[in-house]
Structures are given as C-alpha cells and as structure tokens.
Symmetry: C2
Subunit: 341 residues, 2 copies
Amino acid sequence: MDETITLSLDALETLSLELLIRHGFDEAHAAAITRSVVAAQRDECHSHGVYRLIGCVETLRRGGVSPDATPEVTEASSGVVRVDAGRGCSLLAFEHARPVLIDKARTHGVALLALNNAFHFSALWPEVESLAEEGLVALAMTPSHAFVAPAGGQQPLLGTNPIAFSWPRPGKAPFTFDFATSRVARGEIELCRRSGTAIPDDWAVDPDGRATTDPARALQGAMLTFGGHKGSALSIMVELLAGPLIGDLLGHETRPADDDGAGRPWHGELIVAIDPRRLLGDDMERQLQHAEALFEGVLAQGARLPSQRRHEARRRSREHGVTISASLYRELTRLREAAEG
Amino acid sequence: MDETITLSLDALETLSLELLIRHGFDEAHAAAITRSVVAAQRDECHSHGVYRLIGCVETLRRGGVSPDATPEVTEASSGVVRVDAGRGCSLLAFEHARPVLIDKARTHGVALLALNNAFHFSALWPEVESLAEEGLVALAMTPSHAFVAPAGGQQPLLGTNPIAFSWPRPGKAPFTFDFATSRVARGEIELCRRSGTAIPDDWAVDPDGRATTDPARALQGAMLTFGGHKGSALSIMVELLAGPLIGDLLGHETRPADDDGAGRPWHGELIVAIDPRRLLGDDMERQLQHAEALFEGVLAQGARLPSQRRHEARRRSREHGVTISASLYRELTRLREAAEG
C-alpha cells in the first residue's frame, strides 16, 4: 500500500495556488484552476483532482495554455453569450461568462454559453453544479482530443466527450452527473498506468484494433464508447454541439499539448442553462418538490443517485480534510519548489 | 416465414387515415398520426410503424386520448413556447407549436418547446428531423410510463425515456438519432412477444427481479437502462426535463391506457431548438461543412451513422413501396372495417 497524507482543504488550496503561480499562471487562472481541482479532490474525484496540476504545468511548459489570457465575453444573440478564452484555461473563461449566462437564462427561460479557444482539463460538474446552486438547470459538454473510436470502428476519432447535468434540489446539494461518453474517463486509464494496474478488456483497443488490458497500449490505441451505438451517437452529438455549432474544433483536430501529433490543444465547450421559474412561474417550488419523488424512488430500491458518493465524500473532506497518496504529495511539493530553481 | 404485402406510401397513408377517422379521430389528429407512423414504416422503423395504429384505436376506446382536442399554444417567456395537447395526441400539439418554436429559436438563438398533457406513442425522430430540415439543431425527450429500473435497482420506476437529436447537413438528410435510454425500446419487446421470439437476457428482469428471456415476463417486470449507471443518469435527466421542469408528470405517475394500474395516460415532452446562424453568423455554411469531416471520419472506419440505415430504407420505400407482414395488413384492414359495424 502506498502511504497517504491528509491535508486540510485550506492547505491543499494554498499548495495548488502557490504551485500554479510560481510556474507562471496569473492569479485569476491559478484561483480558477485551484477551485476546480480542490473541489474534485474534496469530492474524491481523483481523476480530476490535484494530480491534474502536474498536467497543467506540463501543458504550460509546452505552450498549450496562455497563463495570463483575459477571457473576452461577447453577446452573440439575446439567448447566446460567447466567451473567447484566448488560449487560456476554460475554467477562468467560464467564470467570466457565468453571470451573463445566468442573466440570459433568467430573462429568456433558456440560454447558451459558447466557450471557445480554451485549454480544458477539468471535470464539468463544478460548472453545472454552480449553476444549479443559482436555481438553474444546466447541461454542459466538451469535445476532448480524439481518443475514442465510434461504435463499429477501431480508430481514434471522437473525444471522451463528457456530458454533465445538474438540477437544483430544495435544501439539498443539486442532483448532478458528469460522465465521459467513453466507457471510462481517460484519467481513469492514466491512473491505472501510473499505478501499474491492468484495465478491463472492454475499455479500449490497442493500436492494432485488438482488445487490451494494458493501460499503456490502451492509451496508444482507441478507447471505446459506453453503451455501444447509443453512447457513440451521444459522443458525436457532443462533438457537433461543442465544436462546429460554436465555431470550434472537432476532437480529431485537437491534441493534448504533451503529444507531438497534429492539431491544436485548444477547443470549445457548450453550456445550456434553463430557468425553471420562467417555465413554471409560481408553480416552481411545488414542481421542484415533485421531482424529489423520483430521487426518493431511486433510493427506495437501494439504488444510488449519481452524485451521492461525491456529496458524501464532500462532507467527510470538510470535516476531516483530504487524503492523497504520499507520492503524489511529494511530487506536488517538489513541483512547487522546482519552479524557484 | 410470414407472408408479406407491399403497398405504395399513398395506399398506406390512405389506409391509416381511413382507419383513424372511422374510429373517431378528427381529421387533424388522423393526419398528424398518419404522417408519423407512415414515416416510420417508410424508414423501416417497424417498432414505431403502422402496427401502432392498433394501439391508437385501443387507447381511444379506453379513453386514453381525446380524438378531437385542439392544442392550445401559449408563450411562457421569450425563449419558451408551451402547448397544451388537451389529452390529444402529442403529434398534433407539436405541429401546432412548431412554427412558434422555430421563430423563437431564430430570434434568440435557442428556444424550448414544453408540450404538456399529451397521449404519446410515436418516435421522436420525425419531430427533430423536421426542425433540422428548417436548418435548426434539435433535441427532444419524453418520459414514457414506468417500465425501467434505475441502475442498481430492480423495480420499474423510469420510463423508456427516449432522447432524439438532429443536425442539419447541407444537401443531405439530417444526422439524426433517436433511442430509448432503456436497453431497447419497449416496442422491440412487444414485437418479440407478438412473434413468439425470446429476448436476450440483459434487456429486462422479471417481476421477481431475475434476468429473463421471456418477452411477456419482461413486459410484466422491469426493463434495464442502456450503458449501466450512465444510461440510468440520462434517463433520470429525461424524467426531470420533460416532467417537473415543464410542470408535467414523472414516468411512474403515468400508465398506458390499456393498463389497469394507477396513473394518467398523458404526459409531457421537451424539445430544445438551436439556430446555428445565431451562433455563427456568416460562418455558418463553413461550419456545417466542417461538421461533415466528422461524419466522413466515421464512415472511413467502416462504421455507420445512426440514421444511415433509415435513410437507405426511405429511398427504397419511395421507389418500391413499403412491405409489411400480411397478418399485420389483415389486422389493419379488419380494424378499419370493424369501425363501420
């Protein structure tokens, strides 16, 4: 067993901020990135937690992110706000455009946020959940780099193309899900590679199109979509909506900054926000309560809600701090000090 | 092998119209229902084809549809149009509200159609495809009756909760998908029951929560979601968006009219329409062309596009007519004549 270390949320936040700023991110970027990775670590979403800081610094070193770009927010139409991240991080661009998106949704009932030209590495649930905390219903998607084969194919073409959704619950944390349309998130396979663990043989194919349990070969080959042709269809939808619809790239036109393949490391993201009050008026409170019957029906069967485990972890972390592996902690502190050399 | 009979599209349309009108549907309802079931039969989507006419008449006989309701269209907000089907068929309500939805999407960039209080039996793809033919991007969903267990559960709670999406393609039929968030559409299991065919054992559980290959036992038990917890999460999203968000029922609060269980046979549907021109302006044509690279990438691997088989069938049917089983044809003509007795 790897040793672990437990840190307070404040200590983890300070480590993240210092690490990012020392490596050249401006304070606004460092704060936005820190909010996302610390929230993921707090909720025990390890694949989008603080280990991603290593990737952020590597991406910066390779010119894959502008560490001090100021996002530009513009209005495309009464129901659409755009934000150009200027090759900076998607998280900061989202924070800049978020108030306009909320305002448009409250005015028209529904609004879109088209986020362009961004370095994107984070989970989507913190974004949709932050909109649900304002009483909105939110749906987000982004096409990542081409790691996934379409159903019936064996070559990488589609991104892992996550979809996230959040729904406001009176007096409770929002109902939220966030999943890759690949069988698993690429981060899961990367964590297996880091820990030397075999993967199930239905997650991916190797570069020759054959099933593999070797995470390194899987990362070189093509991941598979979840749910066969249905997951593949949803993945294509994500590419279209968060790509050409917003004037941005398809997954196969992008690449991670630490890969020497063709393509740019920046791409788009689409968020849909809906204000239930504009649909329901005075009936809104009653209908939000009505929705609780569905959640109760799931729990009554002994099944779990998608966000349940994460919200339980959040309560634990707030009380007892966050536990990460000692080797990851050493790597992060070394990385923080290395910037001073 | 069952005998078959081949009919022209016109002949099939006439049979459907006569059958529906003789049984009491008004001309507007008969025309809207006929357009949907004949389009499905034309595209060889047998599970939503003309065999559904039998169910429409049975639903009418049991008071599950108002055959002459006039849909009422109202504006909920600048981005939201509502239509109350008045317990009539969803297809007619959609046709009434469609021009307002299109107008709102073109004005604001994005708009919602909240369709309430409708008898719903049809495929969703004809609706989203008709919006894509107007140059819009469209997403539709509806919660059907509670036939499906959430991931981790064994009791019916969720509807089969289909999601449909359509994207306009220059000079080609739109890219369209339409699938149940259950493993298969309930109609597929019903067709197996009608033909006495066993089903795979991962489609459903029997009333005792055990895997079954008997379609009749499956229909009495609980269907399973596609793609495990991810499909289950999407199914819950459909219930929320096309239920409480639009002030309508959850799947478990509804029932088919031919079932003696508790609940009403009418429920809601949500459609999102997006006008790419309001996001892209003069760049729209180039970006629609850009999207074609993704479709070409799928086809280049020997994989299929979701709507490909259906659009091929459409070409065949237009040229050679539509082939249905002789027993179904006899049942439909008998049903048409029976109304005169």
